[in-house]
Amino acid sequence: MSMFAVATAGIIAAMTLALVRAFAGPSLYDRVLAGNSFGTKTVILIGLMGFLTGRPDFLDIALLYALINFAATIAILRFFSYRQSSKTRAKPMSEGEA
């Protein structure tokens, strides 16, 4: 019990650090990475919360969060690759259509 509490405090501290990076992070990728690692910390926190209350029934839900977090990060990064490629590809595309 008490070790779970210590681990939870550590995770909270790590979440705060990720939050600081998300607030301050000058570049776009700092914020993407902060969001992704914050999601991972949330997954661990939900697992720890189950053990802290003595009912680790929600571990599978925490696993599903990990999947969602991964998919969301991939979606965001794909978006930005699309954004850049649409910029570089914009001219030949419109010429080809017109």
Binding site: R31, G35, M49, I61, I68, A72
Partner: protein, 201 residues
């Protein structure tokens, strides 16, 4: 033990730090003019509130919040951001007092409404006095899942949930059509000229 006496367990500290982070993220979202940062922070806000919902034992709400708030709406807001500017325009001063007054009046009304709510865990509360006890009694026999809300949503009200899923799917398709994700990907140019194949754009 009175209603406002709080036992200082690790869970209470966890809740307090989650709520503190929620407030910090909300203020950071308000202050930032960089729209991408706001989108990422809103994803973080959803994850935080999902963790807080798990702490409140509302696992289904937490799951919806994580899937919709942190997953889908982040991508949708990024798609919307691609159609507009990347930085928010500076606000025009003068409309702020009215908005602030509306927010304060609404908040005060909501806080006033909580006075009429039954105490937490009150056995005579409406949520505990009608059909709820029956679900609590029969779920372990009918559907052997540990979470009763999940049993209600997925089995007792399965058809209702299926209808909701259809509604949300339809809304999602409509939003995708409105945002035009194809044009954001550079695959299709949207223009007002010559609708040649006669189909609606």
């Amino acid at each position: 033990m009175s209603a406002f006496e709080v036992e200082l367990t690790p869970i209470v500290f966890l809740d307090l730090s989650l709520l503190t982070m929620l407030i910090l993220v909300a203020f950071a979202m308000l202050r930032s003019r960089h729209l991408f940062a706001v989108v990422m922070l809103s994803g973080i806000y959803s994850l935080l509130s999902a963790a807080f919902f798990v702490s409140l034992d509302a696992v289904d709400v937490a799951f919806t919040e994580a899937a919709v708030g942190a997953g889908v709406s982040t991508v949708l807001m990024l798609a919307g951001m691609l159609l507009t500017a990347r930085r928010e325009k500076p606000k025009t001063p003068g409309r702020a007092p009215v908005a602030l007054a509306v927010v304060f009046v609404t908040g005060a009304a909501l806080a006033y409404a909580t006075i009429d709510m039954p105490a937490f865990g009150d056995p005579d509360a409406p949520a505990n006095s009608y059909v709820g006890q029956q679900y609590v009694d029969e779920t372990p026999n009918d559907i052997a899942v540990p979470n009763i809300v999940t049993a209600v949503l997925a089995s007792y009200r399965g058809f209702d949930t299926m209808g909701e899923t259809m509604v949300i799917f339809t809304a999602g398709v409509a939003v995708m059509l409105l945002l035009g994700l194809g044009s954001a990907r550079g695959g299709r140019e949207v223009s007002d000229a010559e609708p040649e194949d006669g189909e609606a754009k």
